[in-house]
Each structure stands twice: as structure tokens, then as C-alpha cells.
């Protein structure tokens, strides 16, 4: 009898569709059902570090903003620790590191408030530059897209980052760098995601 590899196979992905909000953000679909929706508070009140806002558009191959996107954020705290048993240590009470945001139905703008993450330990003992992990789903996206947000005021850390440096096409590295500005005394990072085109955002097969 031949030996068999009795692994199961990962369920196939399907698009989240145009009505993803019903399931994951029902308030946006136009009705109130749960005691609390999830993913509104990424950092919590006790988190150390700089309070920042990150915002942008998701832009399709025609140059139009995609207005039915749902994004999820996964990030370390200011000390580079993830809120998970394998995350590298303890995090502040209330720090979750996970958020869920949707785009405005009229403009396509999305944004979230959080704390700027610290450098987390990467593979082989090499530090990774501060970054946010993003996961993007929408109608027309057959399997969620993974990318990372790095910060333009971390030029030295970015230059040494093992993931950025893996991208052979140096020109494309810029698609992962958010641009800092100040608004009403608060730092805001701009991060537009381009699904196609010469400046298509780098997406990762993780």
C-alpha cells in the first residue's frame, strides 16, 4: 500500500462581496444589532507611544477610489510586542493591536487612530522597522491582500528592514512607506493603496 500524506487542504477563499459590512461592520450597513462591534479601538487608553492617525484610499486600476473596502490592521505596541501569547511579551491592558475599518461609501477614504508601533523582532534575530500589517478585502478581490505600512520618518530603520530589502525592485519599496504630516497638532500618515498600475502597492504572499 502506498504511503499517503493525509493533510487537509485549506478552504478556498471567496470574495467578501459588496455587503461585507453586514457581517463585519453592521452599523455601516444601516442597522444596529450587536452590543458592540469589534475592531474600533486598536490601542486602548493605556498604550504607551505616540498617538497617530493613518488614512488613505484604495485605488483601482481605473484610478477610481474603491468605496466598499474593509481593512484590518494588525500591529505591535510601541515596544514592538504583539498582543498574543507568542507576541514577545506583555502588552498594556486594553492594547489589542487589531482594528477593522471600512471606507466611506461616498469618498472611499478610510482612516484609523492608533499608536505608532515599535520595531519587532524579525527572522534570524534581525529587527524589523516599525510597521503595521494590513489585510484588504472587497468585492472583486478574490482573496484578501496582505501588505505592510512603514513610516517615512523611520528612514534608517526602513533602510535596514529585512522585508523591505527583500523587494528586488527598489522603486516599488516606496509603495509601502506612509507619509507623515501634522494636522491640528496631531501626526497623520497618508497611505494610499494602489491595486494596479506602475506604482502598484507591494502585496505579500505570507
Amino acid at each position: 500500500m502506498p504511503q499517503k500524506l493525509d493533510y487537509l487542504r485549506e478552504s478556498a477563499s471567496q470574495t467578501a462581496g459588496p455587503y461585507v459590512h453586514i457581517g463585519l461592520a453592521p452599523g455601516a450597513a444601516g442597522f444596529d444589532i450587536y452590543r458592540q462591534e469589534l475592531g474600533h479601538d486598536i490601542a486602548g487608553p493605556n498604550a504607551a507611544g505616540e498617538r497617530i492617525r493613518v488614512e488613505g484610499l484604495v485605488i483601482d486600476g481605473m484610478g477610481s477610489p474603491v468605496k466598499d473596502v474593509l481593512l484590518e490592521v494588525w500591529q505591535a505596541n510601541a515596544a514592538g510586542i504583539y498582543a498574543h501569547p507568542e507576541g514577545g511579551g506583555e502588552v498594556e491592558e486594553g492594547f489589542r493591536g487589531w482594528g477593522r475599518v471600512i471606507t466611506d461609501f461616498e469618498t472611499g477614504e478610510w482612516g484609523f487612530d492608533t499608536v505608532k508601533p515599535g520595531a519587532a523582532m524579525g527572522r534570524n534575530g534581525r529587527l524589523m522597522a516599525p510597521h503595521l500589517n494590513l489585510w484588504i478585502v472587497a468585492r472583486g478581490i478574490n482573496i484578501g491582500l496582505n501588505t505592510r505600512v512603514y513610516f517615512d520618518d523611520e528612514a534608517e530603520a526602513n533602510a535596514a528592514d529585512p522585508v523591505i530589502n527583500m523587494i528586488e525592485w527598489e522603486k516599488r519599496r516606496a509603495s509601502l512607506i506612509a507619509t507623515r504630516s501634522m494636522r491640528d497638532g496631531k501626526p497623520v500618515y497618508r497611505f494610499d493603496i494602489r491595486l494596479q498600475g506602475d506604482d502598484e502597492t507591494v502585496f505579500f504572499d505570507i
Binding site: S13, Y19, D60, Q196, E200, F204
Partner: protein
């Protein structure tokens, strides 16, 4: 014990980004190849949910939005397990679902299909798997509905399913279809999946053992997330 990395995703079983018969994908599909990344702490960790996040009624779509009576439609139970590719259960993970009502209409301000809204049906639910990876929902069977792709495209009856797993790399949204539905082989969204067995894996099976006589019919639907390496080597304690 330190958690090991996930198995590489088998992209041959997954829909590619560009699937022109599902027209919306044409302008929304990245064209450059993805950059392959070996797992770091950013991928092997993920959000942790607890029972404080949800309410016990959240998995009962027959009751969780009822205003003046029960929702219209065929009462069903959907149950199964969240497993990984090693057939190990994925415990304590969040499963969220959403669906149309029995007439094929979503309670969404952007859905204008002519079937009526059901005043007693919200169309969403969520639960956390138990220690053995089991989950269940009570709901009504969603109706098929037409959509603008080709002029005469109809979605088979389906429930959208969102699952987290234990690391961000396992994050998955898929759709559950129902055994015996003749619309399944005609659906351009189903056909984004290149592998017939992978399609078959998304079709929930009629489960008479879990059916409640004279009350609700049941379907069983197991969800498989990526597995993770486990073999221990002395020189590589985190796994193979």
C-alpha cells in the same frame, strides 16, 4: 512552546486575483506578483478574542434581530469545525457570518433587489469555536438572487464566512454553499476557484443526524485554515 510557522499557502487551490468572468476583479486585481515572505512574528501572531467580545445570542440569527416574530424561511442549523491542515481543531477563534434573507435580499442600504426586507432578520451572526474547534449557528436558508455581472447571473444560496485562526496569516473569508443547489456550477464567483475539489469543499452537506425533527434541517460545514509546522529538531526548537 513556541509556535512554529504556517505552511505555505497552496495558491493552486485558491482563486487568482484576475478572473475576468467575475468582472469586478478586472480593475481590482493586482498585476505584479506577490512578494513571498517567510513568517515572522507579524504573521504567526493574530488577534485574540474572548467571550466578552460577543453575546451568547449572537450565533442565533433566528432570534438576534427578531422584532415581532420569527424570520420567514426554512429554518436551518449550520455547524462544523474549524480545523487546520493537520486536522487539528482551531479552538477559541472568532467565526462571523452574513447572508441574504430567505427572499435573497440583504439588509444593506446598498442592496436594492426587489425581494422584501424581512423585519425580523438581520442576516449576521458570530460565535467563538469551543475547545475542539466546534461552532454552530441557527438561521434561515438564504435565497438565491440575481446580480449584475452577465445579464442573467444568479448567486447560488450562500452564507459568507469570516474566520481568524491563531495567526494573521490564517485570516480567511469564504462562502458556504448548499449541497444540491443547481446554481453552483453556473456561478462566476464560485468558478474563480480553479480546483473542483476546492469548490466541493465549500459545499455544506445535508446532515440528517444534526437535524432537529419537526423543527430545523442541518448542514455540516468544516472550515480548514492553514496548518503549522510542528516537528521538533534539537537545532531548531521552534519547529521544522
Amino acid at each position: 512552546m513556541k509556535q512554529a510557522e504556517f505552511y505555505q499557502r497552496d495558491r493552486r487551490l485558491q482563486p487568482p486575483a484576475l478572473t475576468p468572468d467575475y468582472k469586478t476583479s478586472v480593475a481590482r486585481s493586482p498585476r505584479y506578483s506577490m512578494i513571498s515572505l517567510q513568517n515572522s512574528v507579524s504573521e504567526i501572531t493574530g488577534p485574540v478574542f474572548g467571550h466578552n467580545d460577543i453575546d451568547p445570542i449572537d450565533n442565533d440569527l433566528i432570534l438576534n434581530y427578531a422584532k415581532s416574530g420569527d424570520p420567514i424561511g426554512e429554518r436551518i442549523i449550520v455547524h462544523g469545525r474549524v480545523l487546520d491542515e493537520n486536522a487539528r481543531p482551531v479552538p477559541n477563534t472568532l467565526v462571523e457570518i452574513w447572508q441574504a434573507n430567505a427572499g435573497g435580499r440583504y439588509r444593506h442600504k446598498k442592496d436594492s433587489y426587489l425581494a422584501p426586507i424581512d423585519p425580523n432578520f438581520g442576516g449576521c451572526g458570530r460565535t467563538i469555536t469551543d475547545e475542539n474547534g466546534h461552532y454552530f449557528f441557527r438561521t434561515v436558508k438564504p435565497g438565491a438572487y440575481p446580480w449584475r455581472n452577465w445579464v442573467n447571473n444568479w448567486r447560488p444560496a450562500h452564507i459568507h464566512v469570516s474566520v481568524f485562526g491563531s495567526g494573521f496569516a490564517q485570516r480567511l473569508i469564504t462562502q458556504l454553499y448548499f449541497e444540491g443547489d443547481p446554481l453552483i456550477p453556473h456561478c462566476p464567483i464560485v468558478k474563480t476557484i480553479p480546483d473542483p475539489d476546492a469548490i466541493e469543499q465549500l459545499i455544506a452537506k445535508l446532515d440528517l443526524n444534526a437535524t432537529i425533527p419537526l423543527d430545523s434541517i442541518a448542514y455540516k460545514f468544516d472550515i480548514v485554515l492553514r496548518g503549522r509546522r510542528s516537528t521538533m529538531f534539537e537545532n531548531r526548537l521552534e519547529g521544522n
